[in-house]
């Protein structure tokens, strides 16, 4: 902490964008630009610019009543002793807190699940390549870039990297859901034709992403494309420390978020402990996720934010805001980034919890040293791991709906934005007779919602949304459409 200013990392995705959070005398927060930050040069996306709204402080609770953090930890210890516990930590906090959470898991004889189910379906030798991709600087020196994400909406700080590559001659092909301004070619082709049609070689870069709701078949397809063309690949990830937590949890359960929710619905999971991971925010259908969580005997939430899951939890152990924590994060390229915060209340709570459960005591410095030893040497980047696995069996191709989520930081955190519309193409406008400034009705098994619309160049029949919608049941959902 420098005066009243914290140097921290944006929690919107795993890019590792450095910034300052300025806290005034009344506790009001403002974002300031950290121009020396290597990942982003101080630049921030729309989510980063609205971060002051993101840090809603959590309150410790026991059975719906406000409690001291000490009482919340004691109550959690009582509930967890002897219980069969599932733990979820997707990487929305520091390496050190994540490691402390793992040690609580050790005390309970269980593991921390990162929610990224895709990892358990990949051969171990693919894991490092999916975990740590090429450096962000390497994007700028590619001769061809194949985009399987929409950087403008999903990972905005990629835009400048791709434009920089174009300036020195790279060509860009987008294989996404809609035309992108920065792409030289926008292709909507059969995935079986990617290898022959996209013109990739060993000087090329593929940019895709993995997240808790990723179709594993899709990730395998991306890996196969990299294997067959020798292109390098970078998987973007949605959580600030997704890379760090993946490395810290290597070899453990890696149960996916859907698998956990299925387990709760089936009754095989009765106690869930989450660390800065809100299933209601993470699942495509928030209402269904909330209904699932009511089936738990025990829901214990350790969190720095006041998310929707806090309101349903039996116990909330509140920790300090992310920007105020002592600790480090690892970004998508494997760069270790440090917070300037010095607070360790989250770690201290987990240390007490661990001891109450018969586990070890923890302190920040030891955890930090462990982090350095276990995942990186200080300030060195793990190198990009060339793929060594065999071509993967993609398995059955999932049938996709016509309403598709364009996942972005606002969606992962259910944070409001000026994105209350869907994207459709002109053919759909004409076919449905949509009026300028009018609405489109979307109907699924989950009901009907009327939305404003924006016209984009994109394939016929698709509807894209950058906001979670109540009619969506998965990341793609079949909906019928009509003009309102």
């Amino acid at each position: 902490m420098i005066g009243n200013v914290y140097q921290t990392v944006c929690p919107g995705c795993n890019m590792g964008c450095g910034l300052y959070i300025r806290e005034d005398e009344e506790g009001a927060l403002a974002v300031d630009f950290m121009k020396s930050s290597p990942a982003n040069l101080g630049k921030l996306c729309r989510f980063g610019m609205k971060l002051a709204h993101h840090y809603s402080k959590a309150t410790s609770m026991v059975d719906g009543k406000e409690a001291s953090v000490e009482d919340a930890v004691k109550a959690a210890s009582d509930k967890l002793k002897g219980a069969d516990v599932t733990m979820l930590g997707v990487g929305n906090t520091t390496n050190e807190e994540s490691l402390a959470f793992s040690k609580v898991a050790d005390a309970l004889g269980t593991v921390v699940n990162t929610g990224m189910g895709v990892y358990s379906e990949l051969p171990t030798e693919c894991h490092p390549t999916v975990g740590v991709g090429i450096t962000l600087d390497e994007i700028e020196s590619a001769n061809r870039i194949a985009l399987f994400v929409d950087p403008y909406i999903q990972y905005p700080l990629l835009v400048r990297r791709i434009l920089a590559a174009k300036k020195i001659g790279a060509s860009v092909v987008s294989v996404g859901w809609k035309d992108l301004h920065l792409a030289d070619e926008n292709r909507y082709i059969d995935p079986d034709l990617y290898e022959s049609e996209l013109g990739l070689d060993s000087e090329s870069v593929i940019i895709a992403d993995v997240h808790p709701n990723t179709d594993p078949g899709w990730v395998k397809r991306m890996l196969n494309l990299a294997l067959k063309t020798q292109a390098k690949i970078l998987f973007m990830k949605p959580f600030v420390n997704a890379t760090g937590v993946d490395l810290l949890c290597k070899g453990t359960g890696q149960k996916g978020i859907s698998e956990i929710m299925d387990g709760i619905n089936e009754g095989s999971i009765k106690t869930l402990v989450t660390l800065n991971s809100d299933p209601i925010e993470l699942m495509p259908d928030s209402d269904a996720a909330a209904a699932t969580l009511t089936k738990l005997d025990n829901l214990i939430v350790i969190s720095s934010r006041d998310g929707p899951v806090n309101k349903m939890a039996d116990i909330v152990i509140a920790t300090e805001p992310l920007y105020a924590k002592a600790g480090s994060f690892m970004n998508v390229e494997g760069l270790l980034l440090n917070n300037s915060g010095e607070s360790t209340t989250g770690i201290d709570s987990m240390s007490t919890l661990s001891q109450n459960l018969g586990g070890e005591a923890m302190d920040y410095q030891n955890l930090h040293n462990n982090v350095l030893e276990s995942i990186v040497q200080k300030y060195t980047k793990p190198k990009y791991k060339e793929l060594t696995c065999e071509v993967l069996d993609i398995g059955p191709v999932e049938e996709k709906g016509n309403l598709i989520y364009l996942y972005n930081p606002f969606m992962w955190f259910d944070q409001s934005d000026d994105n209350d519309f869907v994207m459709v193409n002109m053919n759909m406008v004409n076919k449905l007779g949509l009026s300028k400034g009018g609405m489109i009705a979307l109907t699924s098994d989950a009901g009907t919602v009327n939305m404003r619309y924006r016209v984009e160049d994109m394939p016929d029949g698709l509807i894209l949304t950058a906001k979670k919608l109540p009619v969506a049941t998965e990341w793609t959902t079949i909906v019928s459409t009509e003009a309102v």
Binding site: I2, G3, N4, V5, Q7, Y20, V31, D32, F33, M34, K35, S36, S37, P38, N40, L41, G42, K43, L44, C45, R46, G48, M49, Y152, I153, P156, L157, V159, R160, L163, A164, H181, L182, D417, D418, N419, D420, F421, R452, Y453, R454, V455, E456
Partner: protein, 384 residues
């Protein structure tokens, strides 16, 4: 007693401040004295993190002012907004000062309560680019840098082992390094719009490197200097004719360079390509709003013309937001470069905005941020 128009050479009386501060620590000492003697309640200082990073903080602690950093060409922050709503003293580059005056015109800063100690500026650099430049052009490890300076058209870096290495700015900029683009065509190098105009240009002889040339621009400048002298924090003496002439000559060289580079940097835009010139780069905008947030002359707040007509549901290739901003800032843009610095899509917003604003400002013989009494040509309403 000093007088408006005086040209002086001075330094901090405290040996430690004199040694650590840039050019004799006069600016640091003047700011500290302003706080110490109650001329102001706060001082804006740059809290040093390393040679490439400093954070503006607002302090009421004299020791914190005295411990604040010297010149940092690779920390390109505009400080104007930190002065709002306070009785404050601040160091200021010419563009910081321009922004303070533009904010004062819009009622956001009370100049009676704002003391501006101007600093000569040959240009600032982006920290990450600077680190890369150190490795590629200077063969210096950025971690070894302990100081830097711009002198006689050269950028000089000092290292831990006491060595100095200088390379001509022209050479650096030809290699794609050096100053930020907006600094290259800037022609306001001495902050004659501030209360005091300070710098090392014109400091010669045995005082070179250990004193500051200071021009008193107005009554507030008189107050600042008299206050610091009375507090025993500085000593000043009249600048020699030779010192004054050298300072003017350095300024002339820098201004001429700016004029030359302006011709190189700004493209000729054929009439039939004017819309495309603006639309094409702005189509990469991700609507983050950072350019507005960081703009030091924007006084609109959240509810403003540029945002109220803009919605993400629109899919114009150049948003209403940018169109309104181009118009709205045409008489107030000071080309400080902050918007380009923070643009996540690397849109050269300052260049685009300047392409629009500079011809308009010149046509009306108006330069923003020079005098609070100069009314912007497009001010809609003037309240008396």
């Amino acid at each position: 007693m000093v007088n408006v128009g005086d040209m002086l050479v001075g330094y901090a009386t405290n040996e430690d401040v004199r040694k650590r501060g840039a050019s004799g620590g006069l600016v640091t000492a003047v700011l500290a004295a302003a706080l110490e003697k109650g001329l102001v309640e706060n001082v804006v200082v740059m809290k040093h993190i390393n040679e490439f990073e400093a954070v503006p903080i607002i302090t009421d602690d004299v020791d914190e002012v005295l411990a604040s950093t010297g010149s940092l060409h690779s920390v390109p922050v505009n400080l104007a907004k930190y002065a709002m709503g306070r009785k404050v003293a601040m160091p200021a580059k010419p563009c910081d000062t321009q922004a303070v005056i533009e904010q004062a015109k819009r009622g956001m800063i009370d100049l009676d309560n704002t003391y501006v100690v101007g600093l000569n500026c040959g240009g600032s650099m982006h920290p990450v680019t600077t680190k890369k430049m150190l490795v590629e052009m200077y063969d210096i490890d950025p971690e070894d840098v302990v100081g830097e300076d711009i002198e006689k058209g050269k950028l000089i870096f000092k290292t831990k082992n006491g060595e100095e290495k200088a390379i001509a700015i022209d050479e650096l900029e030809e290699a794609g390094f050096g100053r930020r683009e907006s600094c290259r065509y800037c022609t306001l190098k001495i902050p004659v719009n501030a209360d005091l105009a300070c710098g090392n240009w014109g400091v010669i002889g045995d005082k070179a490197g250990s004193a500051t040339f200071c021009q008193v621009m107005n009554d507030k400048g008189v107050k600042l200097l008299d206050n610091a002298i009375e507090a025993g924090r500085i000593e000043v003496e009249p600048a020699s004719d030779k010192a004054i002439a050298i300072r003017a000559k350095v300024n002339d060289v820098m201004v001429n360079l700016g004029n030359t580079l302006e011709k190189e940097i700004f493209p000729e835009i054929p009439d039939e390509e004017r819309m495309q010139y603006y639309m094409e780069p702005m189509a990469d905008c991700i609507d983050c709003g950072a350019c507005k947030e960081v703009c030091p002359v924007c006084a609109c707040g959240e509810d403003s013309k540029c945002t109220m007509f803009h919605s993400l549901v629109d899919n114009y290739k150049m948003s209403m937001y940018h169109m309104v901003r181009l118009l709205h800032l045409s008489d107030s843009c000071i080309a400080c470069g902050q918007c380009s610095d923070v643009c996540p899509s690397d849109i050269p917003i300052t260049l685009l905005q300047s392409s629009f604003a500079i011809p308009s400002q010149r046509k009306r013989e108006y330069t923003p941020g020079m005098n609070v009494d100069d009314v912007p040509p497009f001010f809609e309403v003037i309240l008396k």
